[in-house]
Amino acid sequence: TQLLEQSPQFLSIQEGENLTVYCNSSSVFSSLQWYRQEPGEGPVLLVTVVTGGEVKKLKRLTFQFGDARKDSSLHITAAQPGDTGLYLCAGSLLIKAAGNKLTFGGGTRVLVKP
């Protein structure tokens, strides 16, 4: 069982539709990051959320950090084919043993069809 569970694992939608990706855990994170990765490339950082309840917007992307800092969501409005990719969430566990390592979710593969 992964510490950070992402759902769904795969999402296929038409251009113009909305989508939401979830990242859940029973553990508390001091911060959480979202990445998008395209085939054959490294993950690219989209956003970092730090405060419980925080909402950040990046154009058509809205990121939310849960009040208890155990979960996060990514919502894309009016998805475009350029949003296609693997979305990864990653968090810093609020325990000393974690050091500066990130814990990664399994990823959500998003396909936006024109």
Binding site: S30, Q33, G40, E41, G42, L45, L88, N100, L102, G105
Partner: protein, 112 residues
């Protein structure tokens, strides 16, 4: 902008060869990481380093070693490459929590 570069995008090696993967970051980050990414298994941490000459094992260190002689450079070494080490290798760097972690473009290694 933070830049993390990796020495090769694609590499093909034979079983038993010694393989060096190099990573350089330009933002004076304390922490550097090596991951491998495989379909269905996600990102798995091989080794990380929080300072020059310091290293810590990650989740799957077997068959790998690392070297960090300078702050900006972190090398991953496969002492004797095997076919099950065929994978996408990703390097990353980070100043610390809650700061962002940045990845390099990846090296697709094939061991035949």
């Amino acid at each position: 902008d933070v830049k993390v570069t990796q020495s090769s995008r694609y590499l093909v090696k034979r079983t038993g060869e010694k393989v060096f993967l190099e990573c350089v970051q330009d933002m004076d980050h304390e922490n550097m990481f090596w991951y491998r990414q495989d379909p269905g298994l996600g990102l798995r941490l091989i080794y990380f380093s929080y300072d020059v000459k310091m290293k810590e094992k990650g989740d799957i260190p077997e068959g790998y070693s690392v070297s960090r002689e300078k702050k900006e450079r972190f090398s991953l070494i496969l002492e004797s490459a095997s076919t099950n080490q065929t994978s996408m290798y990703l390097c990353a760097s980070r100043q610390g929590d809650p700061y962002e972690q940045y990845f390099g473009p990846g090296t697709r290694l094939t061991v035949t």
